[in-house]
Symmetry: C2
Subunit: 497 residues, 2 copies
């Protein structure tokens, strides 16, 4: 959920030689915004209220007592004061309405769990801006954008919900989140176990930090997704980079490339070609991330199984450079022009109205330092090493901050988390982010669910007729665990009285 955003930005760092913000990153985020506008507001069964809660801008310092309004959505149609529960979505890097609209799972299980649904917006995203329009001005204003502050917001909001909703006080809260939101759900349970009885952490790559997993694992899974559809597909992509490089040597080559790919803005330099390759890499990544079994509109309006759709144009890696790149264009169109409305492909579009990309770029430059690399052998991308020094310099130039790549491990424990309890880590086997996720049970109560044929947090999406059996079973199992946590909560409550 919006995790792709993270990816874009990180890949932007990794693969291009320019300072942040990178055009591909920004474009990627503008896509996110675009998709939001495509999605209708919840209606009928998804009816909710929009509320706000006052939060301290700084939970961890007292110099300022300034507060801001955090937005949250609340739906209580199926909530029962007697024996009910609270499902609490730990918002991630996007507008909470967009997130809510893409988390049908919670709506689907509300009745069964007698649950109040709450979707909490992450500070510095959507309408939850600590300094209003100035929030993204500089490192001084961005200083309160950390996962720790976000978790503290969630903890305070839970206290607020329990105080202000009669009957909620003695009910179990379950954290739910996908992607970065899944990390936050897991971390909320780890750091505030008195606030939530358990967490469903969907597609949460909590181990994609430092050297816990190899930096190449992500691109390797992307490649596998394409190769599984057709080995010629990944091979076509692998060969396309050199083809682009060959065209980039002359003005005529650049002109041909610009026309063949129907770019809105023609390429004029080798730097432009680097951007082009970053942009195309990110497109393949994105297709893998949202490779859902039905038509969907998460980052873009897309057909069912979009990787397969793209691969149908990439069946022959042995063709000439011109033919290969014309095929690549057709494949890109699956992602950028499923609606058939685009008159050209815009790789340099930037977003001015959307501010979320700035926030994630800051988070990636501070705490959320995710090392990425590719080697061209295990994956279909051009080789890129992970260069922390360069990454750090870029961050300093952009934000005046230096990343602390080992902090997340110090704070949240890395692989050493077995003393915690009641966390479900779910991962789709198609999801590139599963490489940094928990895919094996750690203990009886820290459990992993791997979902075959599933991309990024498919389990959090609404039930769909085209869902594979695997995700239906995963959702049943998730509900089973949640019911167990709820029962345990009420049983220990009864013991107290």
């Amino acid at each position: 959920m919006g995790r792709c955003v993270l990816l874009f930005l990180l890949l932007g760092f990794l693969m291009s030689g320019v300072a942040i913000p990178l055009p591909p990153a920004l474009r990627a985020l503008s896509n996110v915004r675009l998709s939001t506008s495509f999605t209708s507001l919840p209606s009928g069964d998804m009816e909710h209220s929009i509320r706000y809660v006052q939060q301290k801008v700084d939970h961890f310092g007292f110099k300022t007592d300034r507060t801001f309004k955090q937005r949250y959505l609340i739906a209580d149609k199926h909530w029962k004061r007697d024996g009910g529960s609270i499902l609490f979505y730990t918002g991630n890097e996007g507008d909470i309405v967009w997130i809510c609209n893409n988390t049908g799972f919670m709506w689907d299980v509300a009745e069964e769990l007698k649950a109040m649904l709450v979707f909490a917006e992450h500070r510095y995203y959507g309408k939850s801006l600590p300094f209003g329009a100035n929030s993204f001005k500089d490192s001084k204003h961005m200083n309160f954008l950390t996962s720790e502050q976000a978790l503290a917001d969630f903890a305070q909001l839970i206290r607020h919900l329990k105080r202000t909703n009669p009957g909620a006080d003695n009910q179990p809260v379950i954290a739910v989140g996908g992607s970065y939101g899944g990390m936050l759900a897991a971390w909320l349970r780890m750091k505030y176990p008195h606030m939530v009885v358990g967490a469903l952490a969907a597609s949460a790559p909590i181990w994609q930090f430092e050297d816990i997993v190899p930096c190449g694992v992500f691109m390797k899974i992307v490649t596998t997704d394409f190769r599984k559809n057709d080995p010629d597909c990944s091979e076509s992509i692998r060969r396309s980079w050199d083809a682009m490089n060959r065209f980039s040597r002359t003005g005529a080559g650049l002109r041909w490339l610009s026309e063949a790919l129907q770019l809105c803005t023609p390429l004029t330099s080798s730097q432009d070609v680097q951007h082009l390759k970053d942009w195309i890499s990110e497109t393949w990544v994105n297709l893998a991330v949202v490779d859902y079994p039905y038509e969907a509109n998460f980052l873009q309006p897309l057909p069912a199984w979009p990787v397969k759709e793209a691969c149908q144009y990439l069946k022959n890696p042995g063709v000439s450079d011109t033919q290969l790149l014309q095929n690549i264009f057709q494949a890109l169109n699956v992602y950028y022009n499923y609606s058939g409305q685009a008159i050209c492909l815009n790789m340099s579009e930037t977003s001015t109205s959307s501010m979320g990309h700035l926030s994630w770029s800051y988070q990636a430059c501070t705490e959320m330092v995710v090392p990425f690399c590719s080697n061209g052998f295990d994956d279909m991308f051009e080789p890129h090493t992970w260069d922390l020094k360069k990454f750090s310099d870029d961050c300093f130039n952009l934000w005046g901050v230096k990343p602390r790549p080992s902090w997340i491990t110090t704070m949240y424990g890395g692989k050493n988390i077995n003393s915690h309890t009641n966390i479900i880590f779910s991962n789709g086997d198609l999801d590139p982010w599963s490489g940094g996720g928990v895919t094996k049970n750690i203990t009886d109560t820290l459990v992993a669910i791997t979902i075959r044929e599933a991309a990024h947090h498919l389990d959090l999406r609404a039930n769909n007729a085209f869902d594979p059996m695997s995700v239906q079973l995963a959702r049943s199992l998730e509900v089973k665990y949640m019911k167990q946590w709820i029962r345990d909560f009420y049983s220990s409550l009864r013991k107290k009285h």
Copy 2:
């Protein structure tokens, strides 16, 4: 350990009408410093190295990348690289050398646990000053003094120790602390269970916040300590306040009081008398807190069982006002003049060289908001209600900060901590702070040890021939738990390999 300092400051707030810093509070802290100078540096078996580690001034924000040097003491005489352990003292509100010198328990058990001993100084105390001499200048410089920052320092230091001491990497760390340091030990285990396998939280009043325990419990226990020695003793003290009030009505009365109590600075106003009563209250509190069974020098050089010593002068509450107050003077002398060197009692002495009092006053004004009250019936003190509004105003006047009295409960869980494991909460039954402590087992691994005839963290002090059997048994039990944690650590390590 130094917790009395906390008490002084809080009582200062509670009982006097003036802004902070209060003379009694400052005097109390100057006593602490005095006692430090009395204590010789560890020698022989207590040999250690003094080291420093670079810490981020702000672990939770990236605007500044500034660092400071945190001091820690390390002793590895008994440490074994093979099968050893690390005992990590989570420093509290005082100079770490003073704390180390008063934590003989760790030295006594080092050999048995093959343990490296580490004593980490708390930021803003001793020599661990984030901004050097400017650290206490204003709320801007004090902004990084919180328990969360201190815990993050400890976590970073543990990572540093494991990186820089070959053999330490695969060893279990056990947190140990007394008083506020005991809270930090417990909280370190709760928040960073990947860093420490367990915690010994001695005399840690983790529940003395908000309304978790009645605000009067502390003064009630102080009173019980005196009454148990002799009901006439507590009754004498209870009656002494009115006697002082009666003397305060005239200049002659003030002069008599000043002379009878041999005050260094004569009383001249009713406000001075309020200070006098605060100062005397704090003295009784202090005697109860350090009511050790042998001569000791923690806050002051004191005889064995100092409450009993003081009470021998307070056997007859029915005497005249003048006789009663002369008796009070004798009792005060037990605390202030055991050495026989004092030529007058100095209730307004303030400390300029000691800076720790400022830090604790700031902590009490921000996170560590401990409500105190007395009613004169259940205790021997004048009635005082807990006035949060006034407290908050005083804090704002002094520091420009507003206390957040419910934050500690939000952060650390209040009474709802049963999902954590491996914490020993030890409390002495004479210790007024036991009222806010965990004195009953919560689960099999969150255990309470109540120590009869013991004052404030007696168990952390060195073995002594006059120790009651209760504290000897408590220490054995503590070691037993620690050995179990160490065994569990190595057994799960073996399973991994």
